[in-house]
């Protein structure tokens, strides 16, 4: 029976069918729903780890007992987990080990574009690329077979459009999972230099065995059709190719690395002209050129952003040397206002960013909803680098001798992810930065996952809720203040005091994400237009519930959550709660 599943639901189903026993990951769009769905299945263990390195290592440890394990993350998460990846490639695995890594071409919800296939090349391990939900499930299962046959970690590369597209999937039953039993074998699992040198040779030998296997794998296939043009395609790009070049011969590479050279040669020899269509890096194209095979690729297919049928229609025209004009936007849709994502109405982060914007400070930010604090009118973020970077970059600016005060901002989940080591650095190295943890009791941006501070696990069990102030104290921070971000006057006062202090301090802004509680804080507010002098102060909050079309602002009572921040800052007291009128 076929079921409509997203790629991420299909990955979860595949992991369950493959008999996976342990799965660990860290939330990150577009990978998050894999573990959320997997945790609903029986007979396996799933967890949100504090970060991707931890998740990777948990899965690596589990696989050495002989059971099948999964780790999931987004592309930037693999940077964090790159350390264990590179050496697990040496020691190899016992039970099957697959890392599903989701790339985000077009940066729908990411700070950069990365092509995870480069990591497979870097570590000399296989990478599989499904192009729809059925393949997501099937390729993951095949990944475990490859992993166990060649004792190698395997990467399955997903992308946004594979992860979040629904398509039909045939399901099957679960393979019984192995029983955990670690077998002592230090020459295999301990890469001290003497043994690691032997492992290095084995990695190379395995690479050649994998190449031979990829040549014969059913994941790679030639679809012969018109031989004037042959297209090498993988992942979601394959689907677009089938729409845009329905007549062409296609070499579909589901197992693109190690490169199936023999298959590539056979295909190239059978067609008059060759084109490679792949998303992000010219990974296959460059290899073809190394092999001495002439092909088109980046000369006609864009390498920045994501591909689409529309983009490839332009590529096809370019390849055929004819002009192509995208349907022009009608005049009526030319001057439309943009609608960027914003902090939600009633978001607790708004109180902190509004207050920071009133001060002459530099703000180093982090990854999460609060990155939206960079948008005008709040405009209070100055930098973002990576998770945890909000803390450490503040310390770096401070040590460089920056004259203006620097305030670092992180979220609760990012604090646990990689903020703690940064805080330790500030305290150990006699820093004096002010750090704010926006503790909204959830991992909000990715859709409200639990984290070490929430008191709940991915599997729904209650657990210790790690207190941020206690962690900070243990790191050696002496000045720790907790504020309610909705009390703007107090927030301002605390900010001034802590910034002025000549020692490190941590401000915890504690208030739950309103999207999570799905409740209004109080009755909605309204603006009395007779009292309002249209000074625009309330608009400085950037609250989506306060609407203005050039005239006096009004409050959209459907979206107002009653947080009262606008009432607090209105200089003419024109704003009050509806039921008080």
């Amino acid at each position: 029976m076929s079921t409509l599943m997203s790629g991420n639901e299909a990955f979860a189903r595949g992991a369950w069918e493959a008999g996976v026993k342990v799965a660990a990951g860290y939330p990150g769009t577009p990978s998050t729903e894999i573990l959320e769905n997997l945790s609903k299945y029986d007979d396996l263990y799933c967890e949100w780890a504090p970060n991707e390195k931890v998740a990777f290592e948990v899965s690596a440890g589990a696989c050495l007992t002989g059971v099948r394990t999964l780790t999931t993350m987004k592309h930037v998460g693999l940077n964090v987990a790159a350390d264990p990846l590179m050496t697990l490639a040496y020691t190899g695995v016992a039970g099957g080990f697959v890392a599903i890594v989701a790339d985000d071409p077009g940066m729908h919800s990411s700070q950069n574009e990365q092509d995870t296939r480069q990591y497979a090349h870097f570590a000399r391990i296989p990478v599989l690329e499904p192009s729809d939900s059925q393949e997501a499930k099937d390729f993951l299962k095949e990944g475990y077979e490859i992993s166990e046959k060649y004792l190698t970690p395997v990467i399955v590369r997903s992308t946004t459009r594979v992860a979040h597209s629904l398509s039909l999937v045939e399901t099957s039953n679960r393979k019984p999972s192995s029983v955990a039993e670690f077998k002592k074998d230090p020459q295999r699992f301990v890469p001290i230099p003497a043994w690691a040198r032997a492992m290095r040779v084995k990695v190379e030998k395995r690479y050649h065995e994998l190449t031979a296997a990829a040549n014969k794998s059913p994941l790679n296939r030639i679809e012969w059709a018109d031989k004037k043009l042959g297209i090498v395609a993988c992942g979601i790009a394959y689907q677009y190719v089938k729409e845009v070049w329905p007549e062409a011969s296609v070499l579909k590479l589901g197992w693109a690395y190690p490169f199936p050279d023999e298959l590539i040669k056979e295909f190239a020899a059978g067609v008059e002209e060759l084109l490679v269509v792949e998303e992000l890096d010219p990974f296959i194209e460059e290899h073809l050129k190394v092999m001495g095979i002439a092909c088109h690729g980046r000369d006609v297919v864009p390498g920045i952003g994501e591909l689409s049928p529309t983009a490839l229609m332009a590529s096809r025209a370019k390849l055929e040397g004819r002009p192509f004009e995208l349907p022009q936007p009608v005049p009526e849709s030319k001057d439309l206002p943009t609608r960027p994502p914003v902090l939600c109405s009633g978001c607790p982060h708004r109180g902190i960013f509004y207050s920071l914007a009133q001060l002459d400070v530099i703000v180093t930010g982090d990854i999460g909803c609060y990155s939206l604090g960079v948008m005008k009118p709040l405009g209070s973020l100055d930098t973002i680098l990576c998770m945890g970077g909000g803390i450490t970059m503040a310390h770096g600016m401070d040590k460089a001798g920056e004259k203006r005060p620097v305030v670092g901002v992180v979220g609760d989940s990012t604090f646990f992810h990689s903020g703690i080591t940064g805080l330790l650095d500030i305290s150990y190295n006699r820093g004096k930065s002010t750090i704010i943890v926006l503790d909204n009791r959830t991992t909000a941006m990715t859709g409200h996952q639990d984290n070490p501070g929430t008191g709940k696990t991915l599997m729904g069990e209650s657990t210790v809720a790690v207190a941020i102030d206690e962690v900070a104290k243990a790191c050696g921070i002496k000045r720790i203040v907790t504020v309610n971000p909705y009390e703007l006057e107090n927030v301002q006062k605390v900010l001034r005091e802590e910034i002025a202090a000549n020692e490190p301090s941590l401000i915890i802004s504690k208030a739950p994400c309103l999207l999570l509680s799905k409740q209004r804080m109080a009755e909605p507010f309204m603006i009395d237009e007779d009292i309002c002098v249209n000074c625009g102060t309330c608009l400085g909050l950037g609250c989506p519930a306060i609407e203005a079309r050039g005239d006096k602002p009004t409050i959209n009572t459907l979206s107002c959550t009653g947080c009262s921040m606008c009432e607090q800052i209105c200089p003419t007291q024109a704003i009050s709660q509806m039921n008080r009128k």
Binding site: L4, H108, E332, R339, P341, P544
Partner: protein, 186 residues
């Protein structure tokens, strides 16, 4: 399906996909998660037929566009096929960019919609939803009107709604759907 984060675009997209599947078609959809959902423009794309490869709709090929918001309908205009149906909810959601004076919300969206879409249903989906039991079902009222431009059976729609919404809201949603579907006739 397009609109603003929080309007129920993803649920409506799931209903269309299921109705297509229950009608025996292959179906693929696409939607945006994560940051884009925070009050930004949200869209869900559905493609169905006897053979479907791409989950993304190419420009100029959509049979129907349903929008819960005026400006978002205009933004998506290039995707509609010639003579395709556009259904628009009579709602204007002012983006923060407009409130802070960095952009203007056009005053003449109704005129623009009429000029751009030759086959247009413009109606107050929220009012129809409210009149039939729940103001929150505006997305399903919109679906009802959209269904007049799609070759899927009424039974498939009903079954898809029953599958996608919580059991206690099925009856209300069926009623709202029927009212939306009948709007054009009325």
């Amino acid at each position: 399906m397009v609109g603003v984060g929080g309007q129920g675009i993803l649920l409506a997209s799931a209903i269309i996909a299921n109705a297509a599947m229950l009608s025996g078609y292959q179906v693929k959809t696409n939607e945006v998660h994560g940051m884009a959902q925070r009050g930004g423009s949200v869209s869900g794309q559905i493609r169905y037929g006897h053979e479907v490869h791409s989950p993304l709709v190419a420009v100029g090929t959509a049979s129907v566009i349903g929008s819960l918001e005026h400006v978002e309908a205009l933004r998506m205009a290039p995707f509609l096929a010639p003579n395709g149906l556009c259904v628009v909810n009579a709602q204007e959601v002012i983006p923060v960019t407009v409130s802070m004076g960095a952009a203007a919300y056009p005053e003449d969206t109704h005129e623009r919609l009429t000029r751009v879409f030759s086959n247009l249903i413009e109606f107050d989906a929220a009012a129809i939803a409210a009149a039939n039991g729940s103001v929150r079902a505006a997305n399903v009222a919109l679906l009802g009107a959209m269904s007049t431009g799609l070759d899927l059976t009424e039974e498939a729609w009903h079954e898809a709604i029953a599958k996608c919404v919580k059991p206690k809201f099925v009856d209300i949603n069926l009623k709202v759907f029927a009212a939306g579907r009948d709007y054009k006739k009325a």
